[in-house]
Symmetry: C2
Subunit: 261 residues, 2 copies
């Protein structure tokens, strides 16, 4: 990729297996999305889980049962091929990772696209707020907290958060900027006190990589889309398909249009 | 009512039939809600309709099938008695208006509470922006527009809007203030040009009352919760229960907590 491709061009390369890596940094002006695909029997309860927990699970688009084209956020795309790496889950257990889900998809499956923190990371960088995980070329640090999401039917999960260390004098700016993106996790959940979230050691995240916290920096915590994965696993559906971490679905939606003000 | 009652006290009077009138102006600091009750077979598609059309249909709370207590927005309340006047719809036709729905409610019914423009009207008044329908003691003017909502399953509807005439020099303030309340219809849909919405005559609203538009005032249009009623009627469910217009469910949620920034 040369950094100039449109989302449509990138999706075409992904569908043709010319791109199989994580999507971080691709088409940075456009929103990327978490993907969850479930049988229609779970659709109401999972949508309700997302509505009740909109900070970790902001709904960008829900496709009709059996539909494969996200007509709202990526017209012409195919949800079965346009993610670089998928995960196939059976009864809540990871079974395999694949680059095409045509063999698993059927007419009863409902696809959910949920907002992703890449949107607000681009906004932070654009406003001069450093993003340590990008600087260090690492996956963002993620932690399971002591807060419980509001359950819905068989779906329940603790709130998972990401942490980014922010220089003291930029914390308020980081809060104000990310608050605008209510469809990409919005305002932080907590600032400066990991213990109130039940996080004992920032150096040992539950998912992703640890990053450096420098002197004069405050750990800032945002709701994380991995929450939706834990919710799905809790319900142990016979079959569930998600993206593999970091291998997101790239939409045609400009990040700025996800800003609420 | 003396204007000092809490939402809980008002709901108790309503449940005891000591209050059967519209709820405009009651507990003005608290959010009031539109109510739609449907069989669980319709729940996913209707929730999806609301998610896809969040401006006219902002979801405050969805109760589990058969649940009668809005635990999130009004703990202790009873959805079957705490609205002053309900409407019973059969096959999409209004059958009757009642003050208690216990005889119709059953264990398969799912209750949806949707945000209401009373929230932002209170904010407008608090910021010195006049609200003509309140000044004139009328129901707000509502119009069916030429815009179609995104359908979901059997639910479809044109976008219905409310109109409030705003003095020219206060239009920007009105936009900025209402934009904050994304769970109460948010920013206007259109400012100053009824024709682009297919509205030919402001003096003949499709619902509600006409109000005076003075010299130097601009008609400003916001998405309206009546949209959800039209969507429900379009699906012609065997049974549907809603509030009667203006007879809202009063929550314990402060309006200000519905502000997104």
């Amino acid at each position: 990729m040369n950094g100039m491709e449109t989302p449509r061009e990138i999706r075409r390369k992904i569908a043709g297996a010319a791109w199989t890596k994580p999507t971080t940094g691709l088409a940075p002006a456009y929103a990327q999305a978490n993907l969850v695909i479930l049988d229609r029997r779970y659709a109401f309860d999972f949508l309700l889980f997302c509505v009740r927990n909109a900070k970790p699970c902001p709904v960008l688009e829900v496709l009709e049962p059996g539909a494969t084209e996200p007509r709202e956020t990526a017209p012409g795309a195919d949800i079965r091929t346009d993610v670089p790496l998928y995960r196939i889950w059976k009864d809540g257990q990871l079974e395999q990772e694949v680059s095409d889900i045509a063999a698993w998809f059927n007419g009863d499956m409902v696809s959910f696209l949920l907002g992703c923190s890449f949107t607000f990371e681009a906004a932070l960088l654009g406003a001069g707020v450093p993003v340590r995980n990008i600087e260090e070329g690492k996956n963002v640090s993620m932690y399971t907290t002591n807060r419980k999401c509001a359950p819905a039917g068989p779906f329940s999960a603790p709130l998972v958060v990401t942490m980014r260390p922010i220089p003291n004098d930029l914390v308020m700016r980081a809060i104000r900027i990310t608050s605008r993106y209510s469809l990409a996790h919005g305002a932080p959940i907590q600032v400066g006190d990991p213990k109130t979230l039940g996080i004992r050691d920032l150096d040992h995240p539950d998912f992703g990589d640890p990053v450096t916290v420098k002197d004069g920096e405050i750990p800032v915590f945002w709701a994380c889309g991995v929450t939706s994965s834990l919710a799905v696993l809790s319900a142990k559906p016979e079959l569930c398909i998600t993206h593999a971490p970091g291998h997101m679905f790239i939409t045609d939606v400009l990040n700025e249009t996800l800003a609420t003000l």
